[in-house]
Symmetry: C2
Subunit: 142 residues, 2 copies
């Protein structure tokens, strides 16, 4: 889906969910939607502060948390202390480069042992994380 349509859908959904569509929110959403590197609040703010009149780090944090609470963005599971966000909210997985830390999207949904999962609880969704060395870093090795 192209960005414009996603943005229109975002506006519609946000309003339907009782969230006002402000320039700041729109800017944050657009930024996440067109990047594929799952930025943190700080990174989004760095990108937007010069482009968008009147945006503060606080607003970025509050925006992300509002959007997350209505399911318009998602957190990415990580080992680190910084929260990273994803505008892809349908089930998918990630590849984390152990060298550069970049996170790539994988379309795959993992197959897990249903019996075992159900012995613990009722699953709602599953995601996989693959750790490894990305092609870019692989290429740099001499």
């Amino acid at each position: 889906m192209d960005l414009e349509r996603r943005v229109e859908e975002f506006k519609r959904k946000a309003r339907a969910l009782g969230l006002k569509v402000t320039p700041q929110r729109l800017a944050v959403y657009k930024a996440i939607a067109q990047r594929h590197d799952h930025p943190s609040a700080e990174e989004l703010f760095e990108e937007l502060k010069d482009k968008i009149e009147g945006i503060s780090l606080t607003t970025v944090y509050r925006t992300l948390s509002s959007l997350e609470s209505v399911g318009l963005v998602q957190r990415v599971p990580t080992l680190k202390d910084k929260v990273r966000y994803d505008a892809r909210v349908e089930p998918h997985s990630h590849f984390v480069c152990l060298k550069c830390g970049k996170i790539y999207d994988l379309d795959t949904i993992p197959k897990v042992n249903r019996k075992e999962v159900e012995s613990v609880g009722e699953p709602v969704s599953c995601t996989a994380i693959c750790y490894g060395i990305c092609k870019e870093c692989k290429g740099e090795e001499v």
Copy 2:
């Protein structure tokens, strides 16, 4: 493997890796090894502060980071801002309860689309996270 053997193995490995085996480190390791709830540094400290003479939160943090750096414990991928640790370092997966937040171990290793993963990079390990409602919480529903 029983706790005693794991502790002996821990001592041996730690020394071999150049880490001194102190009472504090031993206590931290034992605590993680016998719990299955992947505690945070703070939670470990809460558990140990009354049992172990001379342990500080700082030491728990430093211990975890030393043990992690030599591979004797691992972080658990989460969506939250608190780092959680696991003494199971062999590949396995997790089930996260969306209601109570508890994290359960799954023995499964996910099957992912190898072709797709290799288009991004060279995988080293893969883990799955299943989100759902655990049996305990399911039982509470009236």
